[in-house]
């Protein structure tokens, strides 16, 4: 059997997504049946919001870290869930109608993408439908068609209730996203939650505020509230798109330029890419944060850059074969190049210390050594020992050889995590 080392645990990848997706599908079925069994309440308002949310779904955007967001769609559906009055007329539709509308809008919004030949994601739309359901079930029964206590409160009380629901949805969004991510990447849940909170907070707060404000402004402006609010949000979305594009380009460029060592015959084809993928898998399981993982990825991609300064390439590019002083010199030369950029100092530090042992004789563990450096040291050695497409048993042999070095060179925690990943891939 040949080894295909996974960057993510594929066998379980679908479990969390499947759970969230099936929950969303069940909810939608239930809502559609109920909505169809009765009749559609206030169909004109429903149509206006359907158009808005579907358009918002069409113009959704990709965010850094493999995330998808549909800010206009999300704000629209939140506003529909929170809508108390349209003009002076109280809204009477139930929560199920909100969910049905969200589902139809997600489907309609996917059509142009499918026609353009893109495979739509399942996890993110399912998440958006579940959040719409949460907002709807939190607010619609409390509003109860304008029959409840809430109808007699001043606007600011209503606004506070709506804001409360919006904040609840924002937090639930992070919790759900963290669940999906932790499950997919085998990362610790709390770390994922922290990452998600950081990632959704900026755009999410704009979406939540817009949703609440559309619902409030519709009391005065009726239909006009929809376009007037969504234009600014669209502009904000454009700013995010630029940010997300430059992030992606940055990563792609470093991936490409990391191949200069291959082109120069210093390392084997795909070495840097393989080290970075495997390092990421190890880093995720060891609970590194998203920003640390990005640094790890950059450092792993560029770990051999120092070899460019060698007159003659190391045979096969395997730095494990050269003596320790030379390894350290290569690391330092590479770090010098990265330091030159002036913006990647932490990456440079990781690269500089990739050849250092995690502890020295008669000393305790070197706490100043970044975890990323330890990971790269272990994974790089593993990659040098196991050629691409090698037998599974060679991978196990390589792990055994790394275990021999666990006294000083290789951090046992990292080696055992790598061993787990290798074993998983071989099954």
């Amino acid at each position: 059997m040949t080894m295909a080392l996974p960057t993510r645990a594929r066998s379980t990848e679908m479990r969390g997504t499947a759970l969230v997706a099936s929950a969303a599908v069940l909810l939608v079925l239930w809502s559609v049946v109920l909505t169809a069994g009765e009749h559609v309440h206030q169909p004109v308002i429903a149509t206006a919001f359907l158009v808005l949310v579907a358009l918002g779904e069409v113009v959704r955007l990709q965010l850094p870290g493999d995330r998808e967001a549909a800010p206009v769609g999300a704000a629209g559906i939140l506003a529909y869930a929170l809508l108390a009055r349209f003009g002076t007329q109280p809204t009477t539709y139930p929560a199920t109608q909100v969910i049905a509308l969200a589902a139809v809008a997600v489907l309609l919004g996917a059509v142009p993408h499918v026609l353009a030949g893109r495979t739509p994601r399942v996890d993110e739309p399912a998440r958006r439908i579940l959040l719409a359901a949460l907002a709807a079930y939190a607010f619609r029964p409390a509003w109860n068609g304008g029959q409840s206590w809430l109808a007699h409160q001043p606007t600011w009380v209503l606004a506070l209730v709506m804001l409360g629901v919006a904040v609840l949805v924002l937090l639930a969004d992070a919790v759900l996203a963290a669940f999906l991510r932790a499950d997919r990447d085998r990362a610790p849940y709390l770390i994922s939650l922290r990452d998600e909170l950081r990632a959704v907070l900026a755009l999410g707060s704009a979406v939540a505020a817009t949703g609440v404000l559309i619902a409030l402004a519709a009391q005065v402006m009726a239909f006009w509230a929809l376009p007037v609010f969504c234009v600014p949000l669209l502009l904000t979305q454009m700013s995010f798109r630029r940010y997300s594009v430059i992030r992606a380009t940055y990563l792609q460029t470093i991936r490409s330029l990391s191949r200069v060592t291959e082109l120069g015959g210093y390392t084997e084809t795909g070495h840097a890419q393989r080290v970075s993928e495997l390092s990421l898998a190890v880093g995720r399981e060891l609970g590194m944060r998203e920003d640390e993982l990005l640094e790890l990825e950059y450092a792993a991609l560029m770990h051999d850059l120092g070899q460019l300064s060698l007159t003659e390439p190391v045979p096969g590019g395997a730095t494990i074969m050269v003596d320790r002083g030379e390894q350290r010199r290569i690391a330092e030369l590479g770090a010098a190049v990265i330091r030159e950029a002036g913006v990647l100092d932490r990456v440079a530090l990781v690269v500089a210390r990739q050849a250092d042992p995690y502890r020295r004789p008669h000393e305790t563990t070197d706490e100043t050594l970044p975890l990323a450096s330890r990971i790269i040291k272990v994974v790089n050695a593993f990659e040098d020992l196991v050629p691409e497409g090698a037998e599974y048993s060679r991978g196990l042999d390589a792990i055994e050889r790394l275990r021999l070095g666990m006294a000083y060179d290789y951090d046992p925690r990292v080696v055992e995590t790598l061993a787990r990943i290798v074993r998983r891939s071989g099954r």
């Binding site: 001043p154 606007t155 600011w156 606004a159 900026a202 755009l203 707060s205 704009a206 505020a209 817009t210 609440v212 404000l213 409030l216 402004a217 005065v220 402006m221 006009w224 007037v228 609010f229 234009v231 600014p232 949000l233 669209l234 502009l235 904000t236 454009m238 700013s239 995010f240 630029r242 940010y243 594009v245 430059i246 992030r247 992606a248 380009t249 940055y250 792609q252 460029t253 470093i254 991936r255 490409s256 330029l257 191949r259 200069v260 082109l263 120069g264 015959g265 560029m302 850059l305 460019l308 300064s309 007159t311 190049v337 990265i338 030159e340 950029a341 002036g342 913006v343 990647l344």
Partner: protein
């Protein structure tokens, strides 16, 4: 791409002057007149009602808070213009009060939120007061009085009035800004309009709608609504500051990596960077769009990365090359393109890198394309590349003067180079000084032959192999 090309209203003047530099008389006069005009619109009694203190105080406070939150970003802008976020507040001021209050809020907010040289502080406050006044006047003329909004009413025509007010705010503020940059800093108006004002016009229109929303919600929620309404704008500004930082980091990283490649075994440090600069100079003369100029800059920086795939001993070879060795050199544009394939944004840049050694007469490599079938980027880079190579020192000859290099380019016009690009470079050099490579660079391998030197290349492509260096150079 500059941050000022993003869809956010621009209205601050920030560059220069901070060290108490010299302000020409015309600049002082101009700023004086603008300030006087602002004072006039604030103090002239023309409205039947007195100033609404509550509205002025809360909106001014909000402007100061919002601007303070974002001041950190201002220093990164170029062209002496920065984005500001008070536009919705200024528009809302016109809706819930009147033109005079709007001017007052603009002036106070501008004065308190921006620190710097007094002349800038005065100008920015006055400019904001005048443009807010003009926008509020449009709203008042359209018949959407503050009384109607304070009573919780809304007419759909207000949407049109607010869009118009946003446009007027943009025009007045833009005109004042063009004036100050011209009179004090000497920046050409066309440049300010093209690169700082036009791209932000959609931002002015779109975000002015937020002002309408503040006004609509004002009677029921007051300043709380205003704070919530500003969130999308604050978040956009945050995204743009992230974008600007990331963009700068990206460029610095590419530069560092390319330098690392260059010091390995190529002849001159900084060659790639200078080729990028010369390519951009040509592109500006040709009037290329900003995105294409950017792509071309990257193509210029990255055009030689493929040379790393050429064995060092061939690059360092002192005697004539065998056809096999020459083929190894010829493959470098292909190698470079292959390596960069994973970068999505570079479409046109790929073509530039792949074909930068093609010749107009079809004797170039790697594909032997001729004339207009050579992509435009490649024709630009070819000229920039040859120019920098000739003005740099080589081990087999000293650096040629700029005139000699231009003469050589002129001589090869039509055969090796596209005449349009050569003429563009010549006209750019007339307007803008060129900084050639430093005369004494770090030691290079003796006799290393520069593949980009057109005098050598001409012979090589005709005969299939490069003559021994000593036979032809130095001249």
């Amino acid at each position: 791409m500059r941050a000022s090309e993003l869809p956010i209203p621009v209205s601050l003047w920030t560059a220069g002057l901070l060290g108490g530099s010299f302000v020409p008389v015309r600049g002082k006069l101009y700023v004086g007149v603008v300030c006087l005009a602002a004072l006039v619109v604030i103090t002239l009694p023309y409205a039947p009602h007195s100033v609404n203190v509550e509205v002025v105080a809360s909106l001014t406070l909000l402007s100061v808070v919002v601007e303070r939150v974002n001041l950190a970003v201002l220093s990164r802008e170029r062209l002496g213009v920065a984005m500001r976020m008070t536009l919705p507040i200024n528009i809302a001021a016109g809706l819930v009060s009147g033109p005079r209050e709007a001017a007052l809020i603009g002036a106070l907010g501008g004065f308190m939120s921006f620190r710097g040289a007094w002349i800038k502080r005065a100008f920015n406050s006055a400019a904001l007061a005048l443009s807010s006044f003009a926008a509020a006047a449009v709203i008042a003329l359209a018949g959407d009085s503050h009384l109607q909004f304070m009573a919780g009413g809304f007419r759909p025509s207000a949407v049109a009035a607010v869009l118009l007010a946003g446009a007027v705010h943009c025009l007045v503020n833009g005109a004042l800004l063009v004036g100050v940059l011209w009179s004090v800093e000497g920046v050409a108006p066309a440049r300010v309009i093209r690169s700082a004002l036009l791209p932000t016009a959609p931002g002015y229109l779109g975000y002015s709608l937020l002002g309408l929303l503040m006004a609509v919600l004002w009677p029921s929620m007051g300043a709380l609504s205003a704070a919530l309404v500003l969130l999308p704008l604050v978040v956009a500004r945050w995204a743009i500051s992230q974008y600007t930082a990331e963009q700068a980091a990206y460029e610095a990283t590419v530069r560092a990596l390319v330098q690392a490649v260059e010091t390995k075994d190529l002849y001159t440090r900084g060659h790639s960077e200078r080729v990028a600069t010369a390519s951009v100079m040509i592109a500006r003369v040709l009037g290329m769009r900003e995105e294409r100029v950017n792509a071309l800059r990257y193509a210029g920086v990255l055009h030689d990365v493929g040379k790393l795939g050429v064995p060092t001993k061939i690059l360092h070879k002192t005697s004539g090359l065998t056809p096999d060795e020459f083929a190894a050199i010829q493959v470098h544009p292909v190698r470079g393109t292959e390596m960069l394939q994973g970068i999505e944004f570079l479409d046109e840049a790929f073509q530039g890198i792949l074909h930068h050694h093609e010749r107009m007469d079809g004797f170039g490599y790697p594909m032997g394309l001729a004339g207009p079938s050579i992509p435009e980027f490649a024709r630009v880079i070819a000229v920039a590349d040859a120019f920098d190579s000739m003005t740099s020192t080589r081990s087999y000859r000293g650096a040629r003067s700029q005139e000699e290099a231009v003469g050589e380019l002129e001589r090869c016009k039509g055969t090796q180079f596209d005449p349009v690009m050569v003429d563009a470079l010549v006209s750019a050099l007339r307007k803008q000084p060129w900084t050639p490579a430093p005369a004494h660079m770090d030691p290079q391998p003796p006799g290393a032959v520069d593949d980009d030197d057109p005098t050598l290349l001409a012979l090589r492509t005709r005969h299939g192999a490069l003559p021994a260096v000593g036979q032809r150079e130095p001249r």
